[in-house]
Every structure is written in C-alpha cells, then in structure tokens.
Amino acid sequence: MTGISFARKLKDRLVFGLVCLAFIVAVAPLVSVLWMLVKNGMKRFDMNFFTHSMRNVGPLDNNGGAYHALLGTVEQVGIAAVIAIPIGLLTAVYLIEYGGNRRLGRVISFFVDVMTGVPSIVAGLFVLAFWVLGLGMGFSGFAGAMALSILMMPVVVRSAEEMLKLVPDELREASLALGVPKWRTIISVVLPTAFTGIITGIVLAIARVMGETAPLLLTVFGLDSINPNAFNGPQESLPLYIFQQAGMPNQPAIDRAWTAALALILIIMVLNLVARLLGWWRAPAKSR
C-alpha cells in the first residue's frame, strides 16, 4: 500500500480551505455588526440613558434616554410571552401526543404553517383593525403584545413540536407500562425530557419578536415619556425608539439609537444565557 495519493491530499486541502472560507464569510458580518454596535453604542451607555425618558429633551440636547422604551419592551414582550407560550406549548403537545393524524390536527398544523408566514406588519394591521379601531380600545402596550403574540405563537409551536418529536417513544411506553395515565406521562416524562430544547425555542421566539418594529408602530404608537401602564395609552419600545432616533438628522439622537440597539442586543444575549443556564440546570438528573 502506498500512502494517500497526491490528488486526494490536494482535494482534502481544497475542501478544508473552502469550509474555512465559508465560516469566515458567515461570521464576518456578525462580528462587524457587534463591533459597530459596541463602538457606537458605548458613547451614551451611561446611567442617564437608562434612567431617563425623552420627555423635554430638545433636538440638540446631549442627554435623554430610553428608560421608557426599555420598560415598554419588557412589558409588551412579557405580556406577549404570557399569551403565546402556554397556547403554543399546549398546541404542540396536542399535535404530537394526541391529534397529529386526525383531521383537526392536520388543520391546526396547516394554520400554524400559515401563521409562520404572516408578515409582521400584517399582524400589526390585524390588531389595529380589530382591537385598536374596531373595538375602539386605542393604542396600548397590550395591543402591541397581542400583535407580538401572534408572531410568537407559531415559532413556539414549531420548535416545541420538534423537541417533543425527539423524545423517544420507548420513554412514553415505559411510563404507560407502569400504569401512569397519559396526561401524567406527558407532564412528568415527556415534557421534562424535552425541557432544554423547548426553553431554547421559547427564548428564540422571544428574541425574534423583541426586535419587531412594524407591528408596534401600528399598535403601541410610540411616546416620548414614561407610561408604565401597558393597558392604557401609547407606550414606547426599544425598536420604535431606535427607528425614531436613527431617523433624526442630529448626532445626539443617532448616538442614542446606537446605544438603544446595543441594549436590545444585550437583553437578547442575557435571555439566551438564562436559557442555557436553565437547560444546564435541568439537563439530565444530576447528583443532588
């Protein structure tokens, strides 16, 4: 036997090089975005920014902050999560454990697919037409949360479904064979086994809607001052804030937009970290 032929070595090197190149091409924009955000966002990354709103801030003033936007985003996304996660999870459980092949299951599955493809502005328009104008409830953080929950739900359903599919049938059978009712099997065996993946999916869904701007424009409207009540009157949110500040012609506003963008990314990163920690903490049974 001779060694590896020259042609094979060459091919190996070539493909290895291509794979490395693809990696660099994929990572370069990500790194440059992060770099830009940190570089430009640090200028206003101070206490004033995170404790003040834009109330009484003139166009050329160097102060002013995004406290009202931060508060709004947390409230809106929080309410959206409270609406979308239980419904999405239960839908996924129904599709995988009960209805998968029944007519109702297929219909639900179809509509989840349709919902996945709904452009975010359409979700905003729907809430605008139905809730804000139709029922005359006016702009509010809650209206925005409803639009966001419409966008979140299919993501939660699909990701939870994938994770539940990964739970081996042997575990379900093992539990059922012990005389455990099906509902208990799902709660105590299936869901804990899929826990890590489901949490990751939920965090991705939250991260996806946290950056939504268009539907909030139509439902939350935007505001310069602090409105802690998500159920009454317009609010601000981070993406709206970025959108408004970045559109201004003066440097202080653009600086504020960068810092807000950095804050948004940081929140999403912290959420991801929390998900990882939760997953690590629950992963397999550890020594206690």
Binding site: A174, L176, A177, L178, R282, P284, A285, S287
Partner: protein
C-alpha cells in the same frame, strides 16, 4: 399476588393487517412462560395485547378475550391504565427515564401514581432494587442519573422500576437482546428469583435462554409469508425442546427452519 392469564380466540390487527390470529392459551402463575418463534410471527404483539399496550399503536385493535384470573382485560368498563398497573412490562432496549436519578427511576411508577411519603418510597425503592439484584451496585449513588449505568444495570433498573409497583404479572419483551452474556446471566438469575412471586412471560429469540429460564414454552409461527402469526404448540419446556408434537417446532428448535 401472581395471577393466571387465560387467552381465548385472540386476534390483533395493525390497521387492516392481521398480525396474529386464533391464539388461545393459559399462562400459569408463579411460572416462567417463554414465547419463541421466528421474527415477525407476532410474539411481541401478543405480549403487548396482554397489558393493553398494543392499542397504543395508531390503528391497532384487538379481538378476543384475555382473562386475568376472572377479570376480562378487554371488558367495556376496564381502564387500560389500571390493567398496566397490574401487568408490568420490561422492554427490549433498556429505557430508564433520562431526566431522573436512579432512585427516581425506581420510584417513578409510585410517584406518578401519587405515593408521596418519603420513608415509604425509600423502603420500596430499596426492596425493588434488592429484588432486581442491583442494590449493592447502586446503593451509594442513588441520586446519580439512571442513564449513567451500564446496559445490563440499566435493564435491571428497568426491572426494579417495573416490580416497584408490585404488578401481578411481569411481561418481558426480549429483555436480554441488547445485553452481553454476563448481563444476560444476571437477568436470567433475576428471572429465576422473581418466579416465586410473579407470573412471568418472556419473549426471546434465544432458544437456550428459553430452555434455561422457562417452565412452559409456546412456539409461534407464520402459516406462510404474509399470513398472521399463530400459536403452533405450547407445552412443558422440557417436552418442547426434547419431544415436540409438531414437526415445525422440531425444525425450528433444531435450526432446520425455513
């Protein structure tokens, strides 16, 4: 504790396909009954009809009667969950719950059915692990994950889990087919020691194993390819392996099959 199973005129279907037909047999308590036969002849299907696991497969259904002592398992008002509580099952591949510790795995059947008292749980867990000949190997690491044990230990853990709920019957679907010879020996010893308290039914592809562990053996075969599986004969294990009544049984156990 241990109860007699009587099967009469049983047929099981997957959708429109009839997997087994015309099965009638009596499974005696405090004995080991082995099912042998070629792949696809319906041994496992029959086993799964005995604790109503068969119907969990979409489209699967059962005709005929299965009596546990005098209770019809397929009676209209019988809850399959209660049936499975009384008839435990051990599967081909060891399947401990990956999110649970060794202790919680054994206690799972009790906990999930509402037993909460710590002292009682600890007592039953120890008893079950001793019953499964696993106590000495795991007593110092009960809080470690069950999935961290070796394959043979995992299978004994699954047996401990099954006997912790004190079933009357223990069904074993090729419990040693994924194990090495030493673990297999451990499981076979275990089966022999459990025999006094339970009715045990074991499906196996290993004829030596059937000969070693069982008191009664049933031989299953297909009349022809694509036909449903049938019980060819069932008798004392000794008789089946030395002097079977049917020609096809003799062909199978002497390896002149097919």
């Amino acid at each position: 504790m241990a109860k007699r199973i009587e099967v009469s005129g049983l047929a099981a279907y997957y959708g429109k396909t009839r997997a087994i037909e015309d099965i009638s047999m009596t499974i005696e308590p405090r004995q080991v009954t082995a099912f042998i036969g070629p792949s696809g002849c319906g041994k496992s299907t029959l086993l799964r009809t005995l604790n109503r696991m068969h119907e969990l497969t979409p489209g699967a259904r059962v005709e005929g009667k299965v009596l546990l002592d005098d209770d019809d398992l397929y009676g209209t008002d019988v809850d399959p969950v209660v049936v499975r509580r009384n008839i435990g099952m051990v599967f081909q591949r060891p399947n401990p719950f990956p999110t649970m510790s060794i202790f919680d795995n054994v206690a799972a059947g009790l906990k999930l059915n509402g037993v909460r008292r710590k002292a009682q749980l600890a007592e039953i867990v120890e008893k079950s692990l001793r019953g499964a000949n696993l106590w000495n190997e795991v007593k110092d690491r009960l809080s470690r994950p069950g999935a961290g044990l070796s394959g043979g230990q995992q299978q004994r853990l699954c047996i401990a889990r099954a006997i912790a709920v004190e079933p009357q019957v223990l069904l074993m679907d090729e419990p040693c087919s994924a194990l090495d010879p030493i673990s297999t020996l451990a499981i076979e010893d275990l089966i022999a020691s459990l025999k006094g308290r339970y009715t045990i039914v074991i499906v196996t592809h290993n004829m030596q194993q059937a000969a070693r562990v069982s008191d009664t053996t049933g031989f299953f075969n297909l009349a022809a390819q694509g036909q449903p599986g049938r019980l060819v004969e069932m008798d004392d294990t000794n008789k089946i392996f030395t002097n079977p009544a049917e020609k096809s049984t003799e062909d199978y156990i002497t390896g002149r099959f097919g």
